[in-house]
C-alpha cells in the first residue's frame, strides 16, 4: 500500500503526546510513508453520538473527505481507538444506508466542506503495520530484543466492538480477530517480548466515565491491572490514548484514594516496538508517560 493520511486526533495532540511522538518516530524508522491529515476536526470521541449519532458520522466523514478530496489519499490511519472506531462506523453507516450517505453529502454541501464519496478506508496503526510489514518484516528490522519482558496486550473496546463495523476482521488466518485480537501480540512477540495469557484484552476500562463516574472506572481499571499482574505481566501494552490515560489515572486514583498499590508499568506498544528498533527513550516519549517505567526498562536491559 502507498502513503496513508495520518489522523492523530485531539487525544494524540493532547494528553496522548507520547503516543504521537512514538508513532511518528516508529513510522519513520520503519520507512513507511504517511502525511498529516490536513486541518482535521475532532471525531467526536464517545460523546457527540449521545447528542445525536449523525454528528459522529458527519465529523468522521468530513475527515475522510479531506483525505480523498484535498490530499488524494484513499486511506486514513488512526492510532487512537476512538478515532478509528468512529471512522469505521461512519464508513459502515454510509456504505449500508443510502439515507445516511445522502445526509452526510447534503450537510457537507451546506457547510462548504469537502464531500465524502465513500472512497476512503480506515486502518488502525496496528493493522497498517501488520499489512505493510507483518511479523517477518518487523523481525528483520529489530536491532535490540525486548529481552523477554512479560507483556499483557490490552486492546480495549473500540478496536473490536461492535464487530459489524469491522468487516475485515474475523476473516480467518492472518486477519485480526474481534474476539481475541492478536496483532499487538504478534508485533511485540516478533520484537522479543513474551506475551502473557491475558484474559481481559478487550475488557472495558470505563473510559466513557473517567470523570463522570470515577469509582466505576477505577474498579474497571483495577480489574485489568490485577488480571495482568495475576497473569505474570510486568508491562501492559496499550494501543489507545484514552485507555492508556485511563489506566494511568486510575492506577494513581486506586493508590491515593483506596490504598491499592499495583506495580505493572503502562507503555504504548509503539514505545516498546521503537525500543526494539533501537530508538532512544526520549524520542519515544517514555519519560513523558505518567507510569514511570524508566528504572524498570533499564533493569531489564531494554534501554
Amino acid at each position: 500500500m502507498g502513503k496513508v493520511a495520518y489522523y492523530p486526533g485531539c487525544a494524540l495532540e493532547g494528553s496522548g503526546g507520547p503516543y504521537d511522538k512514538s508513532t511518528r518516530a516508529l513510522v519513520k524508522a520503519l520507512g513507511l510513508e504517511m502525511e498529516n491529515l490536513k486541518d482535521y476536526n475532532c471525531c467526536g470521541a464517545m460523546e457527540v453520538k449521545n447528542i445525536h449519532p449523525m454528528l459522529q458520522t458527519y465529523l468522521s466523514a468530513r475527515n475522510m473527505a479531506i483525505a480523498s478530496e484535498q490530499m488524494g489519499l484513499d486511506a486514513v490511519m488512526a492510532p487512537c481507538n476512538g478515532c478509528y472506531h468512529n471512522l469505521k462506523k461512519a464508513e459502515y453507516e454510509t456504505a449500508t444506508s443510502e439515507k445516511a450517505m445522502e445526509t452526510v453529502q447534503d450537510l457537507a454541501r451546506k457547510a462548504d466542506d469537502p464531500v465524502y464519496k465513500g472512497d476512503v478506508r480506515t486502518l488502525h496503526l496496528l493493522e497498517w503495520l501488520m499489512e505493510e510489514l507483518g511479523t517477518e518484516g518487523i523481525k528483520q528490522r529489530i536491532s535490540k530484543s525486548l529481552n523477554g519482558i512479560k507483556i499483557a496486550n490490552y486492546y480495549g473496546c473500540m478496536y473490536v466492538r461492535p464487530r459489524q463495523i469491522f468487516p475485515e476482521k474475523d476473516q480467518g488466518p492472518g486477519s485480526e480477530s474481534s474476539y481475541k485480537p492478536h496483532f499487538m501480540d504478534d508485533l511485540l512477540g516478533a520484537a522479543g517480548a513474551v506475551n502473557v495469557d491475558f484474559p481481559l484484552k478487550t475488557a472495558c476500562c470505563g473510559g466513557a466515565h473517567t470523570l463522570s463516574d470515577s469509582d466505576t472506572s477505577t474498579q474497571l481499571v483495577l480489574n485489568i491491572i490485577q488480571a495482568a499482574e495475576d497473569a505474570g505481566a510486568e508491562v501492559i501494552a496499550t494501543e489507545c490514548p484514552t485507555c492508556h490515560s485511563g489506566l494511568e489515572m486510575h492506577q494513581i486514583r486506586a493508590e491515593t484514594e483506596f490504598g491499592i498499590k499495583t506495580n505493572v508499568k503502562v507503555l504504548y506498544f509503539t514505545q516498546l516496538l521503537g525500543l526494539a528498533l533501537g530508538l532512544s527513550p526520549r524520542k519515544l516519549g517514555i519519560h513523558e508517560n505518567i507510569s514511570d517505567s524508566v528504572g524498570y526498562l533499564k533493569e531489564k536491559g531494554v534501554i
Partner: protein, 238 residues
C-alpha cells in the same frame, strides 16, 4: 426454597412466616415465603414508541429476551441491579414506574458495546440505555447526569472550534457539575505528569489551553450541524 431474582421484588411484597398453614397443609420450612400478587394497571402502551424515537432506541421492539446483553454487560458484573435485558423488557411492556426505580444507575452504562456486539437481534442495547437516560432527563425524572454534562461540554467545544482540548473539557465539566478542581488524586496525577515533561511540551499544553486548537476550515460546519440536530429533535419529539 430460594426465590431467584428476589432483588426485583419490592421487600414489602415478600411475606415470610415462621409457621405457615395454607388450606390446612403445613408449609412451614422451605415453603414459608410467599409473594403477594400485584395488579399492574400503570402500563403505558405507547412507551415503546416513545423510546424508539430517541437515537439508539430504534430497534428496541426486536428484543426476544435472550439475556445475552445482561450476561455480557460490564456494568452488570459490577452491580447485578444493572440489567439491560430487564429494562428492555419493561420498556416493551410500558412499565415506566418500574424503570424509574433504577433511574440512578441506568446512566452508568460505560458504552463498552459488549451488548450490541452480542445481541442476536440487533437491538443495540447500549443505545437503549442512552435513550432511557435521555428520556428521564427530558421528563425531569432525573437531573442532567454527569455523563450528559460531559457530552454537552464536549460538543460545545467542537461546535465552536471543530476540536477539543483535554484540560478545558475537564475544567468545563468540573464547573458544570460543581466539582472542585483540585481533587487529591488529580493533584498527584498532575505532579507525576510534570515530573519528566519537557518544558516545550508543557508550554505547548499551556498554550493550547489559552489559545484553543481550532480547525481552520471549520467555517459554518458547527452551525449547520447544530441546525440539523435541532431539526431532527423537533421532528422526533415535537
Amino acid at each position: 426454597m430460594a426465590i431467584h431474582e428476589k432483588s426485583l421484588i419490592e421487600p414489602e411484597r415478600i411475606l415470610s412466616e415462621e409457621k405457615l398453614v395454607v388450606d390446612g397443609v403445613d408449609v412451614s420450612g422451605s415453603w414459608n415465603t410467599m409473594i403477594t400478587p400485584r395488579y399492574l394497571r400503570d402500563y403505558d402502551d405507547d412507551f415503546e414508541a416513545v423510546i424508539q424515537k430517541y437515537a439508539g432506541g430504534e430497534n428496541v421492539h426486536r428484543c426476544w429476551q435472550c439475556g445475552s446483553c445482561t450476561n455480557s454487560c460490564t456494568m452488570y458484573a459490577q452491580n447485578v441491579q444493572f440489567n439491560p435485558r430487564y429494562w428492555i423488557y419493561l420498556t416493551r411492556l410500558g412499565l415506566k414506574d418500574e424503570i424509574i426505580k433504577d433511574k440512578d444507575i441506568i446512566w452508568q452504562c460505560v458504552s463498552c458495546n459488549k451488548c450490541t456486539n452480542i445481541c442476536p437481534k440487533d437491538v443495540r442495547p447500549e443505545g437503549v440505555m442512552k435513550a432511557l437516560a435521555h428520556w428521564m432527563e427530558e421528563q425531569s425524572i432525573t437531573e442532567k447526569t454527569p455523563s450528559t454534562h460531559f457530552d454537552e461540554t464536549f460538543w460545545e467545544e467542537i461546535y465552536h472550534t471543530g476540536r477539543i482540548e483535554d484540560a478545558s473539557v475537564m475544567m468545563g465539566f468540573f464547573k458544570k457539575t460543581n466539582q472542585p478542581l483540585m481533587q487529591d488524586w488529580l493533584v498527584v496525577f498532575g505532579k507525576r505528569m510534570m515530573k519528566y515533561l519537557p518544558i516545550a511540551q508543557m508550554a505547548k499544553m499551556g498554550l493550547n489551553f489559552i489559545a484553543k486548537p481550532r480547525t481552520k476550515s471549520w467555517g459554518k460546519t458547527g452551525e449547520v450541524l447544530k441546525a440539523y440536530v435541532q431539526e431532527q429533535k423537533e421532528a422526533a419529539h415535537g
